[in-house]
Symmetry: C2
Subunit: 384 residues, 2 copies
């Protein structure tokens, strides 16, 4: 096992009816800004439930945070928050809303251009405290301190994190995910799956607990992901999916092990340039990347084949092939395509994707920092 530091102070309020408990988590007298996306939380009643729980606080509302939240939109919320002297933020939504809220929290007290927090890694010295009401199990943002923000003007999609940006609390009520459209549920399953593989399918360091937790998350996604899609009333499956997605990126399975994240980096370029959903890009890149990196990831791929897909027969190469094929088939079974061509993207798009990677400094990726642009090209080619 590698040395690690683990710290995650976010309080999780999990289960039915927990929105009612959030007022106790917010300082008395706070001026609260609700941050959210579109109107779905209005339609399904979640926003009304949140507003009821916030009776007694001064509440403002900022709607319109988009999927792949943009700096341009978020700065409007920053302006509102500064004008109204907001001192607590409450994100009501999925990963995009929560990621966006982290940027807002850091930007409100920031002097200068807040985009430099991402573009120049300007340090976050203060942040407005915030909580979350999660409506979409997927990104894990509700229990970590990282975020990915896009700048529309330049098509840049960049990540940042800060020890000041853990949510104070997150409410995870599985019932609040019942009205999600299937596409978002499926995307969430893929997202949590690939968060797990980025921290698991690398090279072995004999970190037995981390490996087994990762395998437990993958098995749960494989078992209960499809159940959630086929029967929206299956509360248990929905609850397991929600907690799994949170644990997939709260630091636990990544503690003391190598991490990859190349699938994400190659995927970000697809979102920035072609507008694909984040999870759609992961479903395309991962199977191609595992094939291309099967030598470097050999031992963990064999472990994955055995423990996650129960593949015990046949030679080693065959088991690796089969494990990758099962991964692809799993994504396809959720209705998430795994080829660039499924989105009308051809090989001619690859040079521009590579130029994007280069421009963003993504030229030494992977758990050993040996995945360069040549290798990235071969992965995109395999994904065609």
């Amino acid at each position: 096992m590698l040395n690690f530091t683990f710290h995650n102070p976010t309080r999780i309020l999990f289960g039915s009816g927990r929105i009612a408990d959030l007022a106790r988590e917010i300082p008395a007298g706070a001026r609260v800004l609700i941050t959210r996306g579109g109107s779905s939380v209005e339609r399904n009643g979640t926003l009304a439930e949140v507003r009821q729980a916030l009776a007694g606080f001064t509440v403002f509302d900022f709607a319109g945070i988009e999927p792949n939240p943009t700096c341009e939109t978020l700065l409007q919320a920053v302006e509102l928050a500064r004008r109204e002297r907001v001192d607590f933020l409450l994100a009501v939504g999925g990963g995009s809303v929560i990621d966006g809220t982290k940027f807002i929290a850091a930007a409100i007290p920031f002097e200068g251009d807040p985009w430099t927090i991402l573009s120049e890694r300007a340090p976050v010295r203060q942040a407005v405290p915030f909580g979350c009401v999660l409506t979409l199990p997927a990104t894990g943002s509700e229990m970590n301190n990282g975020a990915v923000i896009t700048r529309r003007a330049t098509q840049d999609k960049l990540a940042f994190s800060s020890r000041l940006l853990f949510p104070r609390f997150s409410v995870l009520d599985p019932a609040k995910t019942r009205s999600l459209p299937p596409r978002q549920v499926a995307n969430g399953i893929v997202d949590a799956f690939v968060h797990t593989t980025e921290q698991y399918l690398t090279y072995p360091v004999d970190a037995k607990v981390q490996d087994r937790i990762a395998e437990g998350l993958l098995l749960t996604l494989i078992e209960d992901g499809p159940k959630t899609l086929s029967d929206p009333e299956d509360h248990n499956a929905r609850a397991n999916l929600m907690w799994t997605a949170t644990l997939a990126l709260n630091g636990l399975i990544g503690a003391g092990v190598p991490q990859d994240w190349a699938t994400h980096m190659l995927g970000h370029e697809l979102t920035a340039l072609h507008g694909l959903d984040h999870a759609q890009t992961l479903a395309i890149v991962l199977p191609a990347l595992l094939q291309e990196r099967r030598t470097q990831k050999r031992e963990k791929l064999l472990q994955y084949a055995m423990r996650v897909w129960n593949l015990r027969d046949g030679g080693e190469e065959q088991r690796i092939d089969e494990a990758i094929a099962r991964t692809r088939a799993f994504f396809e079974s959720l209705g998430v395509p795994t080829r660039l061509s499924d989105h009308g993207i051809g090989a001619d798009a690859i040079p521009v994707l590579l130029a994007g990677l280069e421009r963003h400094g993504m030229t030494a990726l992977g758990e050993r920092r040996d995945l360069g642009l040549d290798c990235a090209r071969r992965i995109y080619e395999r994904a065609c």
Copy 2:
């Protein structure tokens, strides 16, 4: 899955050489009281390493916290801390030292008799902050907010917890456990094993991730526990054992599931009345309890048989018998006996043990609160 709240703000510094980092975790200018047990941390160099890391702080030292720490001893540390205006505690040791330090932390600012925190559940309204340097993987106290304290005068052994009693940080350096005697290593393995079963071997609530994490902890203990005993230089096994013991009782596997803890309560009486090591009592009670409660725990015992002991053949009763037998054999293989008679305790001791349970209000134990004194008697009888 049941509703739950999960919150664990302890920062973990894991790995070789991490003691050097602890100064950054303590407020500048703090007056630090080191709390510890016997002289082993002096002999193996850990105390010297801690003192070196604390250069620049005003440091006091309190040695002599015993296994099953007593209120009588701990109040001496409270007196010292009050006199010297100590404002940070640093526990250097295993679970007993850390548990004791939690009591000291709560007792220093407490008005009145601190024992009432346990005996009358007097609320803890303040606590002196503290950190830990763990030298014995076992109890999980380094990443939770609970403690068990004994009062020598009355032979009472009682538990308490408070949201103010999470360690600010804990240093987990596996190398610092290398000089432990085999008996303490073996006890630690049993302790972590039974912490896990208390939260896992109950009744199913379809909490798939919690179950799989629990199974991952048990499998790791079964694999790497014996390795740690047979080869003290196996750093990887030692590291896995240390992180496993922490995760076995940090709230994660108990979130959203029923919990038992009857093995602990029946064991506490054995320690209080016969002076057995805590883990020795667990190794005696658990196999007997699982036999006695096999009907109530049937579904989880079958899952345990399959996923932990890989028992797939034979009828259900047979698999349950075999899983319990394997559990007993595992404890015995570590050198921890599983019968009262191994300690020279006969059936004649049982009435006094039952009277102790009754006096401590332990008359409705187990995950369904249906384990009364009659059932406790049958468990002690099976353990003879």
